[in-house]
């Protein structure tokens, strides 16, 4: 009796759930960005409140990709708009994304718009928001800066010395580096360390300058909190005091500045012999060819690029606008701090901006793995730098040849696939 009624109850529950599903006609916004619960909440309540019926669903990369592939394979779907990083889109087949030239919106940056074409003639995604990686430190740590060092114009040698001073003062290493499973360490090597020491990423991968760069990395690691292999969001270690000086993605430092704005400073990444290397983060919005309601999806893409939406997005996610807007004065502390640091970084005399890898297709993950493996072997396992680089060089060359990806800045342009010299 009780079991029967329970089954009946469950069955009717299913029926109710089914009808509820049929009645909905929201645009599904399927995103890998703005995942932390607070950011997702802000996206729903503030950013998308004026966009009509939108269901914002942030996901881990795995489910995000699996669901998308399933919809593309079965030829019918419920995803209306995709939100993801440049790298996620470039791993996709451009035919699976709707051409967006006629939406009538694009970013203010030609470079971004070109990247968004994914090697085709038309926009495959629309640049949506941008960020970068910066450094941050506790104000208490500033007293250990080496003599004559300007925190806004550090060199790698000064950073190492600073970290060493802090190490000595605290009795334990206090530099923090996001080398955990979800940490973005590979971006540090690709966009910061290599450009600053070798003025390249691919061509110069195994050069003598690269050996110097890894030697500096080892020196820095000696003053790095050894638990860094567990760190993925440096805001946590800044707040807890486990690290005093850190490198990370602007939105992964935001919480520290918002919770205790007076305790921390943000500043540009350091410079090496070939300039102050740094790299942008670019997220975009796109429409899969299986979107159920193209009109509504296009309207949502357009809405995301409006100046008001872009400012609301900045507040919600700490990602900066890609269109020309005048920023209001009442932005959260994290946005102000990060914005200043990024501005100083790009305006510095020795700025050496790099671009996002382009043309790697679905080999983007393999490309990152080359750098992460080099780090684990050279720095963690202490293997010979020259030997490791020569070994990894072959793998890198194979990836470049297979994809035929041409060089991107700061590497010198190439005809055809970017060569590893």
């Amino acid at each position: 009796m009780t079991l029967n009624s329970r089954i009946l109850g469950a069955a009717s529950g299913v029926a109710i759930a089914c009808t509820a599903f049929a009645a909905q006609a929201e645009v599904l916004f399927w995103s890998t960005q703005a995942k932390p619960v607070e950011e997702a909440q802000a996206m729903r309540e503030q950013v998308l409140a004026g966009a009509g019926a939108v269901d914002y669903q942030p996901n881990d990369g795995g489910p995000w990709l699996t669901r998308l592939q399933a919809e593309l394979q079965s030829g019918s779907g419920s995803i209306g708009v995709l939100g993801a990083l440049h790298g996620d889109f470039s791993a996709m087949n451009p035919d699976d994304l709707v051409d967006l030239d006629d939406v009538g919106v694009m970013s203010a940056s030609e470079t971004f718009n070109d990247l968004a074409k994914l090697g085709t003639d038309s926009m495959q995604y629309i640049p949506w928001m941008q960020a970068s990686y910066i450094m941050a430190a506790s104000k208490d740590a500033l007293q250990y800066l080496p003599d004559g060092a300007d925190v806004n114009a550090l060199t790698y040698d000064q950073l190492i010395e600073w970290a060493a001073n802090a190490h000595e003062a605290a009795g334990e290493p206090k530099f923090g580096f996001p080398a955990g499973p979800k940490g973005l360490k590979h971006r540090f090597f690709q966009g910061y360390l290599y450009p600053s020491f070798t003025n390249g990423v691919v061509r110069t991968f195994a050069s003598d300058e690269a050996v110097t760069a890894w030697e500096k990395m080892r020196e820095l690691w000696a003053h790095t909190n050894p638990a860094s292999t567990n760190f993925s969001f440096m805001q946590e270690q800044l707040l807890s005091g486990d690290a005093w000086i850190v490198f990370d993605h602007t939105s992964r430092l935001a919480q520290a500045f918002n919770e205790r704005p007076d305790d921390f400073v943000a500043f540009p990444a350091p410079a090496g012999p070939t300039g102050r290397g740094f790299m942008p983060v670019l997220a975009g919005v796109a429409i899969p060819r299986t979107a159920p309601d193209m009109g509504a999806a296009r309207a949502l893409v357009e809405y995301m690029l409006k100046p008001e939406t872009q400012i609301a997005t900045l507040r919600a996610t700490n990602f900066f606008p890609v269109v020309g807007v005048t920023l209001p004065d009442d932005l959260p502390p994290s946005v102000k701090a990060a914005g200043d640091a990024v501005a100083k970084m790009s305006a510095s005399a020795d700025a050496n901006p790099g671009l996002l890898p382009a043309g790697l297709g679905d080999k983007g993950g393999d490309f990152n793995r080359i750098f992460v493996d080099s780090f684990e072997r050279i720095v963690l396992a202490g293997q010979d730098i020259r030997a490791v680089l020569d070994d990894q060089k072959g793998r890198l060359a194979a990836i470049m040849e297979e994809t035929g990806a041409p060089c991107w800045a700061p590497d010198a342009p190439s005809d055809g696939a970017c060569p590893v010299e």
Binding site: A40, R44, L239
Partner: protein, 279 residues
């Protein structure tokens, strides 16, 4: 005289034994509870405290983090979905699995070993890899984004537990008991329901707990196969590890509580029939 001494010695060892036994029970309980208590402390602490050192050992009863989730849109719907999916998973895995467990324990048939291996294989291959073909199949058949569809996938995960646990328990019940019932005029079916079923209630309960918990905690398939009908786990858990610490703990706590309530509600059936001797 001598008799009295030995008596005293045995009571002494008895007392010592009981003392060891009692403290072992307490120790093991503490081993389970203390980490959960830490979770509770962090859940009921303000963000500042969560990041501080040294950590407090008494919660300060700051409800900020929990309130955040209370105001989180869609929590109740997600909770309802989770309970529905877990309930369906429980029923289906037992209804489908228990007969097979009975067959495995009572009959010798061709292909038996192969069948057992197939059941086990189900648990030895990671679901996230299977999710893509499953999702394609579900989208094509209209099972996609339904509570029932997700319950089907969770049932696949729970069935090995249901089959093997019922198999183990049926094997522990002497066939003679059933045969005796047959000679007394019961049919196979009535013998089963009157004699065997009550005996394996603990096993059914154990299977039910597994099914419920597996479904409750499963994230990947839930994230891929549900959109409008998100379960609580898919709704919360996959976003937790990128969230600030205090919300990470509060969210984890919220996910743990319903599962604990469920186990508490069914725990006594684990002992429903205490051994044949007690019947």
């Amino acid at each position: 005289m001598t008799a009295v001494t030995t008596d005293a010695v045995t009571t002494d060892t008895r007392r010592a034994g009981r003392w060891v036994y009692g403290s072992a029970v307490v120790l093991l309980c503490a081993w389970v509870i203390v980490p959960l208590y830490f979770l509770l402390i962090n859940t009921l602490s303000a963000p500042d405290t969560v990041n501080s050192f040294p950590k407090p050992f008494i919660p300060e009863f700051d409800l900020g983090s929990l309130t955040f989730f209370a105001n989180f849109a869609g929590m109740l719907t997600a909770l309802k979905n989770s309970i529905l999916v877990a309930g369906l998973t429980m029923i289906m895995s037992i209804v489908i699995g228990a007969p097979a467990g009975y067959a495995l324990s009572r009959f010798d048939f061709r292909g038996k070993e192969l069948f057992r291996l197939l059941i086990l294989l189900t648990r030895a291959f990671p679901l996230p890899l299977l999710a893509l073909p499953l999702a394609v199949m579900f989208i094509q058949t209209g099972l996609d984004d339904t509570v029932f569809g997700l319950a089907l996938v969770h049932t696949t995960l729970a069935i090995p537990f249901a089959v093997l646990i019922t198999f183990a328990l049926f094997s522990g019940i002497p066939l003679e008991l059933e045969e005796a019932a047959w000679t007394l005029g019961c049919t196979r079916l009535t013998a089963f329901s009157k004699v065997v079923l009550p005996l394996i209630l603990p096993g059914i309960t154990a299977s039910a707990i597994f099914a419920f918990v597996i479904s409750w905690n499963e994230v990947f398939a839930a994230a891929v196969l549900t959109i409008e009908n998100r379960t609580l786990t898919a709704f919360l858990l996959q976003n937790l590890d990128t969230s600030p610490l205090h919300l990470k703990f509060a969210g984890g706590f919220i996910l743990v509580v319903p599962a604990l309530i469920f186990i508490f509600a069914v725990r006594k059936y684990l002992f429903a029939m205490w051994g044949i001797a007690n019947r």
